[in-house]
Amino acid sequence: MSIKLEEPLTRAAVVAPFDVEVIAAPKKEARALRSPMFWLTCAPLVMVLGWALFPSLFSGFDPISGVPAEKFQAPGAGHWFGTDHLGRDVFSRVVHGTSQTLLTAGLAVSIGLVVGTGLGLIAATAGRAADAVTMRLIDVLLAVPGFLISLIIVTAFAPGPISLGVGVGIASIASFARVVRSEVLRVRSLDYVEAAFMNGGTYWSVVFKHILPNSCGPVLALLAVDLGVAILAISGLGFLGFGSPPPTPEWGLLIAEGRQYLASAWWLTTLPGVVIVAVVILLAGLGRQLHKIFRL
């Protein structure tokens, strides 16, 4: 409210409408959706989603049983990512491992999104006491590293993708809660939200018609970025052996297995890692683009 008490600054960007008839420039939003950068980011991600849904379409080799005669082949036209100690095609293992990694990361992000959004909404709309309590709770979630939360769950419930997903998910609650809270606080202090109440809007109609649509941009962006963060965390824990047991081809596990052959077969560790880096970067890029598209 302090803003209202101050005199207006002429800095407020107002275009001089000398002529009332002037109609403004074309829509910016449509342009952002049509930008090649957006599709260059999306296309590979769609392909990775394809790997997860229909892995056999992308690789003809069996990910579990290999051809011993073809072990330790360097990357080439036949085996793009080479073969491992059992003669299994590494590219095929990466492709088939996608669903495992994505499902676990998806579980984690869903937990973060649902619980985090709930907490953020409560903090932003349910009064000062609720805000204080929720914010302290978020402080606690920040104070206990996600890595350790995952470890408690893995220790208690035995290693596995669900334990991992839940652990990483709990760790991501805090960031969702913070973003949702600050966005809702920002949007609801805008004049048009107050105006909506004065024009007969009820609490829920205003929340659904004005507050949520105008605050979802940063949340969507975080969703993309956080999916990348979850993939990183899950592959790290998988690397330590806390994910699915072998021979399931999970991305972190693939790299852990390749570690024994660091001296003789570099591709076993390097190439699956490149895929992880690429996917995480693309997700972060998607997050940035979403942010841009929704920013008005």
């Binding site: 350790l148 690397f239 660091l262």
Partner: protein, 319 residues
């Protein structure tokens, strides 16, 4: 000033207490108690052994007694006992934490320096393409898994080039490379936040006034913008304590270093919930202490913090 410090310390204690309570509740919510979980892999464990062990570590006490005795322990540095070895958690961790602290703190200092240098380079770069290149580095660093970067560096430096050994031998490279790997990972969020914060500061009119005074770009950046932009970067630096710990565990594993990493792996493999619980509390305490320090540093950076603003009435959601 005194009120500010008192409030911050109070909040810190509150967070430690909440963290302890939540972890305690979480352990109670597990389908079994820590002793049963620990002995579940052991076929030879009969109910009598379980009961004896429960009695030994106090798990047979009523919940409230357990809650308060463990809470009291926190203040005397007692973080419980490892079920696997019977050692106190603090002792078990104390034996190896030094090496991890060296790794983590050197990595942290390197990361902060690296982030500041990177942001300075991006801000002061003369060419737009160079600037764009530098700005894209932090997202790249953030996307690189620590364990993978460690393995690739080992592969290149040790196997291809032979400039470092595969195992720690006390040489400079065997210390510097793990620190670097961890620092790159930790610097990414700090650099990203600092970049954004610096960009925000540059949109403020006082920067134009500095230019109009005849200040050079580097004068403006180092003498004014950096200090103004520091607060959010400090906040995120405090929050990276968690990342730093997770990264240390993984880095230690990759480079076969002694440290907390080993303890963590053993604790999880042995399903030693008590040890993990102790680890969590210890880290949470470390996190809160570091962040308290950050909070107490803010007023040195920004004199406005101590002046608690009275901003009239907040706008309530009408209805």
């Amino acid at each position: 000033m005194a009120a500010y410090i008192a409030r911050r310390i109070g909040q810190a204690l509150l967070v430690i207490w909440l963290a302890y309570t939540l972890v305690f509740l979480a352990v109670q919510l597990l389908p079994n108690d820590p002793v049963t979980i620990f002995l579940s892999a052991d076929a030879a464990a009969d109910p009598a052994t379980i009961a004896a062990m429960k009695a030994q570590y106090g798990y047979d006490q009523p919940l409230l007694v357990q809650y308060f005795s463990q809470l009291a322990g926190l203040f005397t540095g007692d973080f419980g006992y490892s079920l696997a070895s019977g050692q106190p958690v603090a002792e078990r961790i104390g034996a190896v934490v030094g090496s991890t602290l060296v790794l983590a703190s050197s990595a942290f200092v390197t990361a902060v320096l690296f982030a500041v240098l990177l942001v300075a380079a991006a801000t002061l770069a003369r060419h737009a393409w160079l600037k764009r290149l530098i700005i894209n580095l932090p997202p790249l660093f953030a996307a690189v898994p620590v364990f993978w970067l460690g393995l690739v560096l080992l592969q290149v430096l040790s196997i291809q080039l032979g400039v470092m050994s595969l195992f720690p031998d006390g040489s400079f490279a065997s210390i510097a490379v793990p620190v670097l790997v961890l620092a790159i990972h930790v610097s990414a969020p700090i650099a990203q936040v600092l970049l954004k914060s610096v960009d925000n500061v540059y949109t403020q009119p006082f920067v134009d006034v500095l230019r109009a005074k005849g200040a050079s770009p580097s004068w403006i950046f180092f003498r004014h913008v950096l200090k103004n932009a520091a607060a959010p970067a400090m906040t995120i630096s405090g929050i990276t304590v968690g990342t730093l710990l997770a990264g240390s565990v993984i880095t230690e594993t990759v480079f076969a270093r002694a440290g907390l990493g080993q303890v963590v792996l053993q604790a999880v493999t042995a399903q030693d919930v008590a040890l993990v619980q102790g680890l969590v509390l210890l880290t949470a305490t470390a996190f809160v202490v570091v962040n308290l320090a950050v909070d107490l540093l803010y007023p040195l950076l920004d004199p406005r913090i101590l002046k608690s603003g009275t901003h009239g009435a907040p706008r309530a959601l009408v209805a």
